[in-house]
């Protein structure tokens, strides 16, 4: 079997201890659920000296001052079933429930899903395989096999929950060596698969803050994948809005799993206050299609994945417009 070696493990009981352990152990890396990190270690993609375990830090969901504050170590299976999450932001529960398979969801955390490394079919492979390939830009090599060039890494942000969180305009709370800070989720991701997170070394994501959308909120998350379980998304589409009947007064659409950066769709304001009839829905779908440029770092024909963004948009809006 693929074996790991050469690192120590330190178990943190709370965030302060986690930060201290990180500071005391040069070369330390945080691990929460481990479902993304450990395969990467097994593949030789990173070689931590010490792993600082966060799995003992309790998560939880609290409603506070118009926000839903979710502890970063909250497990995805718990969030998917949480009655408050389901009542107030159902698409987040749907997205959490669509991640990987059942066992992974009992292990994986929401924080981990937000901080997920980017993925690529040329990157998430064994050291042997990558050596046979000649490596890639993101690890040990100089060439991106997806775009066929030496400059840009387009490994994909493949989280299912992030498109929904973005559509809800979530904020993140970090604790790090230089104190605590809050960051809008929309400012977290960069278009660089090799370095896609705007965070500082040693920073810990401690809370995800979701502004509660209020009355008339309806949203959904649709995931494109080959199998109905286990698979990462080939495309993820979050639609969140505030509705009066079939008329949105607020509308956000975010496309995930297309590039290092999840893609919020621009220009939706034009549709606010309009009844979303078939023609309007087609127009939104066209907008989404135009702005969605899936990278080939994920399996499936890129043109087809792009078309699916439009189909998913039509279907999601059709369902949401008529759900009121």
């Amino acid at each position: 079997m693929l074996r790991m070696q050469g690192f120590g493990y330190r178990h943190a009981g709370d965030w302060d201890e986690a930060l201290r352990l990180w500071q005391d152990n040069p070369g330390a890396v945080y691990v929460a659920g481990g479902t993304d990190l450990l395969p990467n270690v097994k593949h030789g993609l990173l070689a931590p000296k010490v792993l600082v375990g966060l799995s003992g830090i309790p998560g939880g969901v609290v409603e506070r001052d118009g926000d839903l504050v979710i502890g970063a170590t909250s497990r995805l299976d718990v969030l998917a079933a949480d009655p408050v999450v389901r009542r107030l932001v159902l698409p987040l529960a749907e997205a959490a429930a669509s991640v990987a398979g059942p066992q992974l969801r009992t292990m994986a955390t929401l924080g981990g899903n937000v901080m997920l490394d980017t993925r690529c079919m040329f990157y998430n492979q064994t050291e042997f395989w990558r050596r046979s390939l000649g490596y890639c830009l993101k690890a040990e090599g100089t060439w991106c096999h997806v775009v066929g060039g030496p400059k840009t890494c387009v490994a994909t942000q493949s989280s299912d929950t992030v498109p929904v969180l973005l559509a809800l305009d979530a904020r993140l709370r970090f604790r790090g060596p230089s104190g605590t800070r809050e960051l809008a989720l929309r400012d977290l991701y960069r278009f660089n698969g090799m370095d896609h997170l705007a965070v500082e070394k040693g920073e810990l994501l401690t809370e995800i803050v979701v502004p509660l959308p209020g009355d008339g909120f309806r949203g959904s998350y649709t995931k494109l994948r080959t199998r109905d379980s286990i698979d990462f998304p080939q495309l993820g589409l979050a639609v969140c809005g505030t509705w009066e009947g079939a008329t949105p007064t607020a509308l956000e659409i975010v496309v995930g799993a297309v590039s290092p950066q999840p893609k919020p769709v621009r220009g939706l304001d034009a549709f606010l206050g309009r009844t979303l009839d078939a023609a309007a829905i087609d127009a939104v779908a066209d907008l989404v299609h135009k702005q969605t440029r899936p990278q080939g770092s994920v399996h499936g024909d890129t043109a087809w994945r792009r078309q699916m963004a439009a189909v998913f948009t039509r279907r999601a809006l059709g369902a949401l417009a008529h759900a009121g």
Partner: protein, 930 residues
């Protein structure tokens, strides 16, 4: 960095000194010796390592052992001193355990589900198990098991619990498998569960080039590393071999040249796997890259590089075609001339692999007196035995091969692999036992899976629905070596001539070498691909002729006693009954062609062999031998070389011996797959086991039964004809109430004989097949027949195909245990469904596999797998044991063309390339669907 780990496992507090980098899986298996938790994929893709932590299903392979704070439950903690847990028994009784390798994890997921939802819905069951991949069952019997468990299942159930067929006491009854409760409880020992004192761990260095000369292989630094016990290279194992003795083109490790990415070059044995990995990194290999032959088309292109320069006799190869078969039967030109319609097209079958959840593993030990024992996850102990002796240069009597419980095979473990030779050679050099366990990636490189085939077909018919001519030209992409390729090349043509027959036939098949992992036999060896092309063409032909496709198949059905156009004698066939069953069950007549757009029905048929007629190496000895030994405690022990690979051949042997002797199957122990203890059986391949071992067992059982009857007659002082065999007893036909138990009969017989009781039986080669060169390849003593109808939905906007339901009727001659036959049908349909819709064993321009792991190579989960409705048809073959024929491979074939034909019914497109991925489907719809 080892440190003390405190774990609470199954209610016990364990303290283990294990490295901090170890996962819970390693701590459980290698630290605590709890080997019931299985390892299948290395990295969280398969679910075999599922344990419960505080009641929640968790993947042990992605959980750091030192991070665990909760209470761990493994499969060993599920049963209690009172017996197996009702969930474990429900899996056993329902036939949910075939190879059993995924089942500890599956059972724990089921336990967790039932704890939170005691009466789960079907959807909840599918969801809860969707992180546990099963490769054997198609999940159907697992769903049954969970429902049975929800309603309570007895902890103790006899082996035979259903009603037998009329006139029998065991045959035809639903029953448990011999070993399934051991599998359900984690007791069963698979190859990687073996740990011997002083055992070293081996690893194999593999080529990173698809085609290159080896300029240098320097192992000196690796050999000098502390903790390294032995290193071997190709030079240590120079003898070429092949499972087919006519084409020995392969050595255990590459010599002089490498021919695919992943080919073994050198192997090391070290104190542990981590040290062995470091030693591999210290081996220096210099390559001189050569042009790559990337696929079959490139292989036959003028000027193509040669994958092999010379053959096994030193004769130069002129091109990469390693086998060509060109055979014609009947008047083909006349067949086309009289046809009213001809369908011609080119179909392409992408390669696929077996992906048994258990990776290959072997352990070798040389005893102090110079004898070698190899435990290996093999489905051909006997062939492995022969090849090991040959390659190691020792006498066969110095080698013993033992097959432990096997975690799935499907043809993927049906010839020797590099690890078996390497553990033997390393163990000799190191002077200690050596184990090698493949990583999941290595399993993909070992491959020997389904050949990609580029198939040109012409099928002609007349207005009355007669098929007058079939012509094919098939290019078979063989990969780097021969393997079973000689047979594959024949099978690609020879096995197409039934159960739907035709008047004339010409096929040409060429198998070529390419720089990819070697292809071989996967469930439905050689014939699944052309079956796809032919059954699709036949559907199109039916359309052209304006006839119902089921009716066309009926009109051309081969009849029992017929010889097919290529000379195969078909003693029995249940094709018509199969067609009737699926036609009725699916509502075919009312619904086909009349469903709303996007929904469709499709049909296809197939036949398959019940064993190849002749052994792989010519000899006059029995192809299967069975010994029965009686024990005065009332037990029988059955010895047979057959390999139970999860299909249940041990159980089959027990049922047959029970039927023949009157001894209850609960009192029969089967010892199999051990070359030292068991008489030779050639192994589990070509669907031969039930037919051939079944006949050998019948003969051995009948001989034992005769001894028991005679002894009882003698004791009762009555003529032997009066003694009648019952289920567990013998009775006097003329004196009601007078009976003795089978156990007492055994005691009487041993006393009468004055020696321990034993008996034996064999299956002797029968002369069958056509009277021409190659006419025996594809010939079998009996052929199964299968018909499937499936219902699909096709989303015309996304191209996504969902297979909703499959009605699969299979003629297995007689179902010795219907539950196991259903399991074979369901598992076959599942595997074909996977090939049709998602699996693709593909390579890039470098010859690099597109994703050799179980995340990129997608096996269907419990959620999308269709409803599988298995129906058994019994034609009672005149030559089979109680009339039985094969059931494990035939039912795979029709599902792929049935899906293609259903898609045609749904949206009017004819797909000619698998897998039917949504992008391809959508492109075809837009290019000209209706």
């Amino acid at each position: 960095m080892k440190s003390l780990l405190q774990l609470r496992v199954n209610g016990e507090d364990l303290t283990l000194a294990v490295p901090e980098a170890w996962t819970l899986l390693e701590a459980l298996r290698y630290g605590a010796g709890l080997t019931g938790t299985k390892q299948g994929c290395d990295k969280g893709d398969c679910g075999a390592c599922t344990v419960l932590i505080d009641g929640k299903p968790t993947l042990a392979c992605l959980t750091l052992a030192h991070s665990v704070r909760g209470e761990v439950t493994t499969i060993e903690g599920v049963s209690t001193p009172e017996g197996p847990d009702p969930v474990q028994r429900a899996f056993d009784v329902s036939g949910a355990l075939q190879c059993g390798f995924c089942q500890p994890g599956m059972i724990l997921s089921a336990k967790a589900l039932l704890a939170r939802s005691p009466q789960p819905t079907d959807a909840e069951i599918r969801e809860a198990l969707s992180g546990n991949l099963c490769r054997c069952t198609g999940y159907t019997k697992i769903f049954d098991a969970v429902k049975l468990a929800a309603n309570g299942c007895e902890r103790q159930v006899p082996v035979r619990y259903g009603e037998p067929a009329e006139g029998f006491s065991v045959i035809g009854a639903r029953g448990r498998k011999a070993d399934s409760i051991a599998k359900a409880t984690g007791e069963a020992i698979y190859a990687d569960d073996i740990r011997l004192p002083r055992m070293a761990h081996g690893k194999i260095l593999r080529s990173t080039h698809a085609h290159a000369r080896l300029l240098k292989v320097d192992v000196s630094a690796a050999a000098a590393m502390p903790g390294v016990f032995a290193v071997v290279t190709g030079a240590d194992l120079p003898t070429a071999y092949c499972v087919i003795p006519w084409t020995p083109d392969e050595t255990a490790l590459a010599i002089g040249k490498v021919r695919y990415i992943g080919e073994g070059i050198a192997a090391v044995a070290a104190v542990d796997e981590e040290t062995a990995n470091r030693a591999l990194a210290a081996i220096v290999v210099e390559y001189d890259p050569l042009p790559i032959v990337k696929d079959a088309e490139a292989a036959i292109a003028p000027g193509a590089a040669l994958v092999h320069e010379v053959d096994w006799k030193g004769r130069p190869w002129e091109n990469n075609v390693c086998k060509e078969v060109d055979l014609a039967f009947g008047d083909v030109p006349a067949g086309f001339a009289k046809a009213d319609a001809v369908v011609e097209g080119r179909w392409f079958y992408e390669g696929s692999t077996h992906a048994a959840i258990e990776p290959h593993c072997a352990v070798a030990q040389w005893s102090a007196d110079g004898k070698l024992t190899v435990w290996s996850a093999t489905q051909v102990s006997h062939y492995l035995h022969r090849e090991l002796a040959k390659v190691l240069g020792v006498r066969t009597e110095e080698v013993r091969v033992i097959q432990p419980v096997l975690g799935g095979a499907f043809g993927g473990k049906s010839e020797p692999f590099d690890l078996e030779f390497c553990v033997a050679a390393l163990s000799k050099k190191a002077g200690r036992p050596v184990k090698i366990l493949y990583t999941r990636e290595e399993v993909f490189y070992a491959h020997r899976g389904r050949h990609p085939m580029d198939m040109h077909f012409k099928v002609a018919g007349t207005k009355d629905g007669r098929i007058t001519a079939v012509e094919s030209d098939i290019l078979v992409d063989g990969g780097a070596y021969h393997s079973f390729g000689l047979v594959t090349t024949y099978y690609s043509g020879q096995l197409l001539t039934g159960p739907v027959g035709f008047e004339s036939y010409h096929f040409r098949s060429r198998r070529v070498y390419t720089n990819k992992p070697c292809c071989g036999p996967k469930r439905g060896h050689g014939s699944v691909q052309p079956r796809f092309a032919f059954e699709c063409a036949l559907d199109e032909l039916s359309d052209k002729l304006g006839l119902d496709p089921i009716e066309v198949r009926r009109r051309n059905a081969v009849v029992a006693g017929d010889r097919t156009v290529n000379g195969l004698l078909v003693p029995s066939t249940g094709l018509l009954a199969c067609l009737d069953r699926v036609e009725a069950a699916s509502g075919w007549k009312e619904r086909r062609g009349k469903l709303p757009r996007g929904r469709g029905l499709g049909v296809a048929t197939s036949m398959y062999i019940s064993g190849t007629a002749y052994p792989i190496y010519p000899n006059d000895m029995p192809q299967s031998g069975v010994l029965v030994r009686a024990d005065r405690s009332g037990k029988l022990t059955v010895f047979c070389g057959a390999n139970d690979i999860g299909q249940g051949s041990d159980g089959m042997l027990a049922y047959v011996i029970a039927e023949e002797t009157g001894v209850s199957p609960d009192d029969i122990t089967v010892v199999s797959g051990d070359t030292e203890l068991t008489p030779v059986d050639l192994g589990s391949y070509s669907s031969r086991v039930t037919f051939m071992c079944g006949i050998a067992a019948q003969e051995a059982g009948a001989a034992m039964g005769a001894k028991l009857r005679e002894a009882v007659a003698k004791a009762w002082k009555v003529p032997v004809e009066r003694v009648k065999k019952g289920y567990g007893f013998y009775a006097d036909a003329e004196e009601p109430g007078r009976q003795v138990s089978a156990r007492e009969a055994l005691v009487l017989a041993e006393a009468a004989a004055g020696t321990p009781l034993s008996s034996s039986g064999g299956y002797r080669t029968r002369k069958v097949g056509g009277d021409y060169r190659g006419g025996t390849i594809g010939a079998s003593p009996a052929y199964s027949a299968t018909a499937h109808v499936c219902e699909v939905t096709v989303d015309p906007e996304t191209g996504i195909v969902r297979v909703e339901k499959v009605w699969a009727a299979h003629d297995c001659g007689r179902a010795l245990n219907p539950q196991i036959v259903e399991g074979q049908i369901e598992g076959s349909v599942y595997m074909g469904y996977a090939e049709a819709l998602m699996e693709a064993h593909t390579f890039d321009e470098r010859g690099l596999h597109s994703g050799p792991n179980l995340l990129d190579y997608r096996l269907p989960t419990s959620k999308e797998t269709p409803d599988l409705i298995a129906q058994i048809v019994e034609s009672i073959d005149p030559g089979g044991p109680y009339g039985a024929k094969e059931a494990g491979e035939g039912p795979l074939h029709p599902i792929i063309p049935a899906i293609a034909n259903a898609i045609a019914d749904a949206v009017g497109i004819r797909l000619k390339r698998i897998p039917f991925t949504p992008d391809r489907v959508l492109a075809a719809i837009r290019a000209g669907g209706v």
